[in-house]
C-alpha cells in the first residue's frame, strides 16, 4: 500500500474510525486539538457521533455511558484535561468497560505549557484515579505506531474489558511522517453480552455499576480485576531493543525520548562506544522481566533512564533491575527536550571516560 503523510493527531483520529470507533466525547486542549477537529468532521460521515462536551468530566462520563452500551468509544485530551477525567477512568475500570483514552502529554504540573512532555507516566501507569486499578498504556514513538496502536487499543480494550491509554506527547501529536495503513493482528473478541443495549424483552437486565457497598463483594471484584491484570501482564508486554545485545551503556526510554536516545546510541557507536536502547512499548504492563534480562548481560556497565520528566519511569527501571546495575538519569521537566549530546555526555560520565 502507498505511503501517506499524516500528522500524529489526525492519524490517531483516523485510526479510531478505521477501528470502528463511532463515538467521541471530548473537550478542546492543545496540543491534541486536531483529534476532535478531525473526528467532528469525519465521524458523522461514518454514521458516528461527535460531541464536544461542556467539560472533561462530562466527556469521560459520556464515554462511560457509551462504553456501557457496548459501543466503541474514545476520548482524547492533554495532561490537565486527563487529570480531570481520572474519576471517570476509575469508574470505567471498575465497571470493566472497554474505552480508549488518548493523552498527548504537555508540560506540567498545573496548567503548565503546551510543549511535549512525559510527566504523566505515574498518572497513566499507577492510575490517576482512586482504587486498585490499572490501565493498559501503549506508548508510540512514531506516527506509524500512533496509527497502529490506536487501532489495536480498541481490540485490547474489548478483549479484556478495560480502559486502554494511548500515551504520547505534543511532538507525536503535531509532527507528520509517512505511514501505511494496516490492520492490527486479529483477536477473537468476546461478545458484548454484558452491554446495556436493551433487553428487547428477551433477557434479564444487564447492570453496569462500580458501587460494591458490601466489603465482601468489593473484595471479590478487586480479586477479579487483579486476575485480569495478571493475565494482561503475562500476555501483553511489549518492548523493543536497539543495538542492545553487546551494549556497555543501555539507555531506557519510550516514545519521543526513545528517538533522541536512538540518535545518541548511533553517535556513541560511531565513536566506538557500545551503546544500546531498551524501549518499553507498553508502559503498563512494564516489560520488567525483559529489561532485567537485557541489563543482566555482563557487558552492561550502566543503565541510563531518559525521560521528558523529572524521573518517573525510573522507578520501574529500578524495580526491574533490583539494584543489579547502576541507574543514571537524564531528563527535563516542563516541556524542555534534551539534545542527543546530553545523553552522550552522560554515557561518558557513566563509563568514567572523556568524550570525543
Amino acid at each position: 500500500m502507498a505511503k501517506e503523510l499524516w500528522k500524529g493527531n489526525e492519524a490517531v483520529a483516523e485510526a479510531a474510525i478505521r477501528a470502528g470507533c463511532r463515538y467521541f466525547f471530548g473537550y478542546p486542549i492543545t496540543p491534541q486539538n486536531e483529534i476532535p477537529e478531525y473526528l467532528s468532521r469525519h465521524l458523522p460521515e461514518h454514521g458516528g457521533c461527535f460531541v464536544q462536551a461542556e467539560s472533561e468530566i462530562a466527556a469521560i462520563n459520556m464515554v462511560y455511558g457509551a462504553a456501557g452500551s457496548g459501543a466503541r468509544v474514545m476520548t482524547s485530551s492533554s495532561s490537565p484535561g486527563i487529570s480531570l477525567k481520572q474519576e471517570g477512568v476509575t469508574y470505567i475500570a471498575c465497571a470493566e468497560l472497554p474505552a480508549v483514552i488518548v493523552n498527548m502529554m504537555r508540560g506540567g504540573p498545573g496548567l503548565g505549557n503546551i510543549a511535549p512532555s512525559q510527566a504523566d507516566y505515574y498518572q497513566a501507569t499507577r492510575g490517576g484515579g482512586n482504587g486498585d486499578y490499572r490501565t493498559v498504556v501503549l506508548a508510540p514513538a512514531t506516527i506509524q505506531e500512533a496509527a497502529d496502536f490506536t487501532q489495536e487499543a480498541f481490540d485490547i480494550a474489548d478483549y479484556y474489558r478495560t480502559p486502554v491509554v494511548v500515551l504520547a506527547d505534543g511532538m507525536i501529536g503535531q509532527m507528520m511522517e509517512a505511514i501505511e495503513w494496516r490492520k492490527p493482528k486479529e483477536r477473537a473478541l468476546p461478545p458484548k453480552d454484558w452491554a446495556t443495549d436493551g433487553t428487547r424483552g428477551k433477557r434479564p437486565h444487564n447492570i453496569i455499576n462500580s458501587l460494591y457497598i458490601d466489603a465482601k463483594d468489593c473484595a471479590v471484584q478487586n480479586r477479579k480485576l487483579q486476575e485480569k491484570y495478571d493475565r494482561i501482564t503475562e500476555t501483553e508486554v511489549r518492548y523493543e531493543e536497539f543495538m542492545a545485545q553487546d551494549a556497555e551503556i543501555l539507555f531506557v526510554a519510550y516514545g519521543t525520548t526513545a528517538r533522541i536516545a536512538r540518535a545518541a546510541v548511533l553517535k556513541l557507536r560511531k565513536d566506538g562506544v557500545k551503546a544500546g536502547l531498551f524501549r518499553p512499548v507498553t508502559l503498563w504492563p512494564f516489560p520488567e522481566k525483559a529489561l532485567r534480562e537485557c541489563a543482566a548481560h555482563e557487558n552492561v556497565a550502566a543503565v541510563i533512564d531518559v525521560e521528558l520528566s523529572m524521573g518517573q519511569m525510573i522507578d520501574d527501571v529500578k524495580i526491574a533491575l533490583a539494584g543489579a546495575k547502576p541507574v543514571r538519569f537524564v531528563g527535563m521537566g516542563g516541556g524542555a527536550i534534551p539534545a542527543p549530546q546530553e545523553l552522550v555526555d552522560e554515557a561518558y560520565k557513566a563509563l568514567g571516560r572523556c568524550g570525543k
Binding site: 492543545t30 505534543g170 533522541i260 539534545a339 542527543p340
Partner: protein
Amino acid sequence: MTHEIVISGFGGQGVMAMGKTLAEAGMKEGLCVSWLPSYGPEMRGGTANCSVVLSGEEIISPMVQSPTELIAMNKPSLVKFEPQMVPGGKLFVNSSIIELKASRADISAYYIPCLSIAEELGNIKVANMVMLGAYIGATGLLQTETIRGMLAHMFTGPKAALVELNIEALRRGAACVREA
C-alpha cells in the same frame, strides 16, 4: 544524504505549507520524511517555523538543531536560525522584505525576491512557492513534476488554474537561483 531544513517566517506566509509540500514530495520520491511545526501560541502575523527532514535513511529525530538548509521568510527568522546552520549549508533569504545579508562566509546564500515575483505573477500567496522553486533549483532535490502531480490533486474544478500559477511560481524561483 540527509537534508535538515528549517523554514521560518510570519504566520500567513505559508511556511507550514511549504514544509508540508517538501515533505510530501519527498515521500512521493521514496525518501524518509518528517515535518515538525513549532506550535507555540502562534497567530497570523506572529512568527512560525517548521522543521523538515528528508533522508535516504530512517529518520531518528524530527527535531532539527543544525539545519543544512534554512529558508528565512522574514528578518527575525534569519537572525535566529542562521547561526545554527551547518558549515556549507544553503540559506534562502526572502529579499523582498529582508534587507540583511548573510553574516557567515561558510554558507551559500541565495537572495530570492519571492514576494516581488509573486506580485508580478498576480498572486502574493504564491511567494512561498517561488521560494520552494529556488530551494529545488539550488538543491536539485525534488522534481517539479512530483509537485505538479500534488498540485493537480489539490486544485481541481474552479481552482484548477492555480496549478499552472504555482508551477510558474516554482519555475521563477528556480530561475533566480540559476541567475545567481
